[in-house]
C-alpha cells in the first residue's frame, strides 16, 4: 500500500458566481459522501484541508506577488491523503471526486516517505 496526495484544483470563482447556501450545502454533502466512501474502505489517511484563495508567492530577489496563482485557472483548493495499492487505484478513486462535476481536476501524486 502506498500513500497518495490528491490535489484538488479548480478555476477561481469571483464573488459574483459564488454558489447559493443551498448549493453550498449540496456541494458539502457530496464531498462528505465521497470522503466517507474512501474512509469506509479504510483508505483515508488524512482528510486534509481546504485552502483559502488568498496567498502570496515569494520568488528570488525579494519578489513577493499576491495570489498563489499565475492565472485564475486551476487554483489549488485543497488536498487529501489516501492509501491505495497502486497509482491506478488512486486514480480510480479520484474519478468520483465531486470537483470533477464543477470543471475542476484532481492531481494524484505518490507520496515518497522521508527516511530519517
Amino acid at each position: 500500500m502506498n500513500e497518495f496526495l490528491l490535489i484538488f484544483r479548480s478555476d477561481f470563482k469571483s464573488a459574483a458566481v459564488q454558489p447559493s447556501p443551498e448549493q453550498l450545502q449540496h456541494i458539502m454533502k457530496e464531498w462528505q459522501n465521497w470522503i466517507g466512501s474512501i474512509a469506509a474502505q479504510n483508505k483515508l489517511v488524512n482528510s486534509g484541508n481546504r485552502l483559502s484563495t488568498e496567498g502570496k508567492v515569494v520568488k528570488p530577489g525579494e519578489v513577493v506577488t499576491n495570489g498563489p496563482y499565475v492565472e485564475m485557472k486551476e487554483v489549488i483548493g485543497g488536498y487529501t491523503i489516501i492509501r491505495a495499492d497502486s497509482m491506478e487505484e488512486a486514480a480510480e478513486i479520484s474519478k468520483s471526486c465531486p470537483i470533477l462535476t464543477v470543471g475542476g481536476n484532481v492531481e494524484v501524486r505518490t507520496i515518497i516517505p522521508m527516511t530519517p
Binding site: 462528505q32 466517507g36 474512509a39 469506509a40
Partner: protein, 408 residues
Amino acid sequence: MHEKELLPHLFRTEYRKIIAVLVRHYGFEHFSIAEDITSDTFLIAAETWGLKGLPENPVAWLYTVAKNKSRDLLRRNAVFREKLKPALKAESQELPETDIDLSEKNINDSQLQMMFALSDPILPIESQVALTLRILCGFGIEEIADAFLTNKETINKRLSRGKEKLRSAGTKIILPASGEINQRIDAVLTSLYLLFNEGYYSSSGNNVLRKDLCLEAMRLTGLLTENEVTDKPRVDALLALMCYHASRFDARTDESGEIIPYEKQNIELWNEELISTGHFYLNKASRGKELSRYHLEAGIAYWHTIKNDSTEKWENILQLYNQLLCVVYSPVSALNRTYALSKIRGKQAAITEAEKLGLTKNHFYHVLLGYLYEGTDAGKAKAHLNQALLLANTETEKNGIRKQLDKI
C-alpha cells in the same frame, strides 16, 4: 427484603464498594489482603446472620466487620514486624496503619481512581474489562466467564495475570493530574464502552447478566460524569450513547433470546425514560467544541430513537457515519454507512459502494449484500447469505441469517 435474598443483593451492591476501598487502601501490592478481608466479611455475615438473624443495619454491620478485620490484620502485622522481621531480615512492604474509610465519598473516590488504575495501558484490554467486572462491579468469576463465553480457569488466569502486571508496574490508584485527565480518560472510556458492548452484543444466552453488564457500564460512566474533574463532554456523549442503546434492550430480543432486528421491534417496548436521559446527556455533551467519536456515535443512536423512516433521518445518519469513519475506521461503521446510503440512494447504488469495502471475510458484509440484492437478484442474495452462514460465529447469528434466507 427477605433474609435469603438480602445477602446476595448486598453482595452485589456492597462487595464492590468494600473491595475498591480496600484495594486502594492497601495498594495493588497487597491485593490478596484486600480480597481476603472482603470475602471473609461476607462469609462471617452469612454465618452470623444465619444463626442470629439480621442485624438492624446490615450495610453498617458489613462495614464494621471489614474495618475490624483490617485492624486485626494490622495488629498481627505489628507483632510480625517486632518479633519476626528482625530475624527474617525481610524488607516486606509496610501496610498503611490508618483505619479504612468506608464513607460514601471515599467509596466514590476509590471507585473513580480504580477506573483509571484499571485502564493502565500495560494491561491487555480483556484483562482491563475482567478486572473492572471483578473489582468495580463485584461480579463473580463464574459470571465473568459466562459473559465472555469462556471458562472459570481462563478468567482466573486473566485476573491473576492482570493483578501481577499492576503489582510489578507499581500502578498507583490515584486520579491522574488534571492536565493528564484528557489523555488518560480515553482509555477508561474505551474500557467502559467495551464493557457495555460485551453486554449489548454478547451472544451469551444469559439475558439478565447481559443487561447487568450494560447497567454496570452506565453506572460507572455516570460516576465519571458526577465528578467535575472527569466530567468531560465526551464522557457525557458516551453515556448518552449507552442510554439510547439500552432504551431498546427489552425490544431487541424475543422470549427465546433471539435478536429482533431494529425494523421489526415493538416501539412500545422502547424505554422512553432512558431515551430522555440520553437527550439530557447528549445536550450536556454539546457544550464546547469537542467532537469525539462518542459524540458522533451518540448522534447516530439519537436518530435511531426516531422510529419513522425519513430522508432527513437517513441523510443525517449517513453524514454522521461519514464523519465517524474519518475519525476512526471500523468494519461495522463501514457496513452501517452503506446501509444508510441504501436508504437514500437505493439498493443499487449501495451495492456498488458495498463491493468496494473489501470485507469479504466478514459475515455481516454478506448479510448486508444479501439484503441489498433481495428483490432484484435472488441468486446473488442467496449466495451471499449462504456465505454469511459459513462465516457466522454463533447460533443466534446463524438463525437470523436462516430467517433471511427463508424469505427469499
